[in-house]
Symmetry: C2
Subunit: 179 residues, 2 copies
DNA sequence: GAGCTATAGTTGAGTCTGCAAGCAAACTTA
DNA sequence: TAAGTTTGCTTGCAGACTCAACTATAGCTC
């Protein structure tokens, strides 16, 4: 051995190792994909994620607070993010009929289009990135493990069905809330 | 099902799922641990990582560029980071005897002490965080998988033994460069 | 229904980090 | 040894987020 410890992980336990690798993997992959996405479609990773999250939401809209949770951002982070997306016309504000405090972020047609345009290349890059380093089964395994960490499991149960229904009625009642 | 898709991951493949979970897990855990570390010891996560990396390096010093790789930062990020750490007296600059362009970052006694003070609590929090969500074997598995992603594998082979040796001679020749 | 407390979101100020450009030292090549 | 190139680091500027403080609305309790 030339160095006392070859990596930053040295004698620390598996949790420390997982932690530092999580930080670095996130930083490195983010930088790589961000450059590509910005270059090709002029949006940041977070913006893409936001568009994607909205596109999968009922009526393509979400309370700002819920969006914050879904993206693991703080409320103020969402305000700033949407500020940009609204200015770009990709997202629009919508009021809530039952609670004047809440405001929804709704995907516009332009936003939907931009997402569609970006999604193919971006998801391809993501897949390529992961599959370059991991076997398919391992990718799933990784997803499963990461899914149990904080930040990733805030899913379902946040939709405020009652209020959402009312707003939906105002805006566009064509959704398929199947029962 | 009430919503069309309960999470941002919807119909996308495992790679997309892994990716978005990676982003969120990193964001969420980082925020949590950063607050704690800042509160308790007045340093950021990156600063802690830097101190830790340096502490495991030969002679507790590293070329700034190498430090950048190890932390998955850009060179400019390292310059700014060290700016702060140097001002705080936790790290000091050291010149390289053989190449005037390079400058080393070296842990000071104060830095070593600060790291020591912070490390117990911080590593404990990390372990707690991971073990709260994953079984011990899963933590190792996660570490292994993350270790194969970009950013995490830049280890060993960067030490520039020749130059390091010369600087070491100037500063402190007590290292165990065995063979 | 007047006050309390809780919740949703925004805003000001600051931190961290990156990119692009710049500078200086080292290396290459003729 | 004088270009020309590459490498290591720093700097100016900008973007993305956060925290803390604030506003406005809701909901509760008496």
């Amino acid at each position: 051995m030339i160095t006392q410890a070859s990596s930053a992980e040295s004698e620390s336990g598996p949790a420390q190792q997982a932690w530092s690798r999580l930080l670095r993997a996130a930083a490195a992959t983010k930088r790589e994909l961000a450059a590509e996405l910005q270059e090709a479609h002029g949006i940041s990773i977070t913006a893409y994620e936001a568009l994607h999250v909205l596109s999968t939401a009922e009526d393509q809209q979400l309370k700002r607070g819920v969006l914050a949770e879904r993206l693991a951002l703080t409320p103020s982070g969402v305000t700033r993010l949407l500020e940009g997306l609204e200015q770009a016309g990709l997202v629009e504000k919508a009021a809530c009929a039952t609670d004047l405090r809440v405001s929804y972020a709704r995907l516009t047609d332009a936003g939907r289009e931009r997402l569609r345009a970006a999604s193919c290349g971006h998801t391809g890059s993501i897949r390529a990135l992961f599959e370059r380093h991991l076997a398919p089964g391992e990718v799933e395994q990784l997803a499963e493990l990461l899914g149990r960490l904080p930040g990733a499991q805030e899913e379902e149960g946040d939709v405020c069905p009652a209020a959402a229904a009312e707003v939906a009625a105002v805006a566009d009642a064509s959704s398929e809330r199947t029962p």
